[in-house]
Amino acid sequence: MMLKAEAISASYGRVKVLKDIDMSVESGEIVCLVGANGAGKSTLLKVISGIVPAGSGKFLFEGQDITNKKPDFIVKAGLSHVPEGRQIFADLTVRQNLILGSYVHNLPKQEMAKLFDSVFELFPVLKSRLMQKAGTMSGGEQQMLAIGRGLMSQPKLLLLDEPSLGLAPLVVETILKVIQNLRSTGISILLVEQNVNAALQISDRAYVIETGAIVTEGKARELMENDEIKKSYLGM
């Protein structure tokens, strides 16, 4: 078991945004969170990565309790969060952005070079942009940088929040392919994605969240056939 959430609740002030969430990601799985805007998907990712505190419940990451641990502890444990809106450092160069991706590890130069190479293998365009300020790149390139930066911490589990939002179809395809490639290298993925159809196609399992609670879960392929899901999320 990679990640297990047990009865997780969280609030913003008095508003309960997550209610008794039970979910899990198995090792080597792509798991997708499906739900409307404001359902609590992004919040769930933020609670996992220690940005928003959990009110109650427990997260186990490879058996280790990571509930309400500081983000640096969680990143070091092997969990990396590529947030919604990318949140890259626009004023820093691509290279500096990537360096910060492995901030929690003090790696020798050779290992850093290897990590850089593995990121370039996935996103060759970043190599030619290394000394460019990140803010001057296109949206697609910035998303690639955000994912590349997330990979620099050598995660076992990658949390991806809306990686295709606002991108051209061709770029979306590249990103989806990369996600599948990452899984084949042994990285587990928890994915939040507006493009539910595409997300379900590359996922093994999915959870459907409505107003902060999980209402349905199951194999991605089965959920694609579910009438309710078709109507609400796939527009069929």
Binding site: S49, I51, K70, P71, D72, F73, I74, V75, K76, S80, H81, P83, Q87, I88, F89, A90, D91, L92, Q96, I99, L100, G101, Y103, V104, R149, S153
Partner: protein
């Protein structure tokens, strides 16, 4: 009439006060970049650094040791102030935080009055030696120290913020808190470091110019104001801009004093500020 040697002499005094303003401005920018806060107590670190060095030297410590210790004292003081007075109210809103830095400024000034009294103190120059004649003007050896210290500090800051992981991480905190936190960068630690650095550099400015000025507990007020003007002209988050503006300010001031009258120097400096703010509100090197 003014002859050429005077023009050179004014240039030297402009460079001297300009370096001082530049250093103070840089210390303000460093704190601002990470905490998004102007620390109005920077003038007090300027004074405390200088007076601490005066005391240590008078106790018989060798100059280099007194120099290092005074920087250390100011750095630790800055870090303590951040931890004990700024961090507990960091979510209280920018207005409260600014008032807090003003309160810190007044408190530190009062503390300096208690420790060093009302009288002025003078530090002996970093190296002995006669003034150097240059093109008919004279250059105090201490001015060379001031300029070298400024250059060394600027190079160190550049290397730190461009080349070291910690420095880059501090910039990342300033730019995108959420992004930085997700990388496991502690924004608390970055703010603490920024204050420590800022206080140390502010103190360094005071120590460097102390042999040329009479330093007393209230001497930090005008340099702080001028440093703040330099930051406003240069652009709040631009280190290069604040250095250029600091040197510009010092030079304009020196030539105004020399060629017109010392009565007009503040008028001209503030007019310059107003012109810049009207035509480029974000400062010469600022963005947006």
């Amino acid at each position: 009439m003014t002859d050429f040697s005077h023009i050179v002499q004014f240039f030297f005094s402009g460079l001297t006060s300009g370096s001082m303003y530049a250093l103070i401005a840089v210390s303000l920018v460093i704190v601002y970049k990470v905490s998004l806060l102007i620390c109005f107590a920077q003038g007090e670190f300027f004074v405390i650094g200088a007076l601490a060095m005066v005391t240590l030297v008078s106790k018989g410590l060798p100059m280099p040791l007194a120099f290092v210790l005074s920087i250390l004292i100011s750095t630790v003081l800055g870090a303590l102030v951040q931890r004990m007075l700024i961090k507990p109210i960091q979510n209280a809103g920018i207005g409260n935080l600014i008032v807090m830095t003003i309160a810190i400024s007044l408190t530190l000034r009062g503390a300096a009055l208690l420790v060093w009294g009302k009288e002025s103190h003078i530090l002996k120059p970093f190296s002995s030696g006669a003034p150097i004649p240059v093109l008919g003007a004279t250059l105090q050896p201490q001015v060379l120290w001031i300029i070298s210290i400024t250059i060394v500090v600027l190079i160190m800051i550049w290397i730190f913020f461009e080349k070291t992981k910690l420095g880059i991480a501090m910039r990342a905190c300033a730019e995108n808190r959420l992004g930085a936190s997700l990388m496991g960068i502690s924004t608390d630690k970055a703010a603490l470091l920024a204050w420590a650095w800022g206080s140390g550099i502010g103190a360094l400015a005071g120590m460097a110019v102390a042999p040329l000025l009479f330093m007393q507990y209230g001497s930090g007020v005008m340099p702080m104001v001028k440093g703040f003007i330099a930051v406003s002209i240069g652009g709040l988050s631009s280190i290069v801009g604040s250095v250029v503006a600091g040197l510009l300010l010092g030079t304009v001031e020196a030539y105004t004093i020399g060629l017109i009258s010392s009565k007009f120097s503040d008028t001209i400096v503030f007019s310059l500020l107003m012109v810049v703010l009207i035509f480029k509100p974000s400062g010469l090197f600022g963005k947006g």
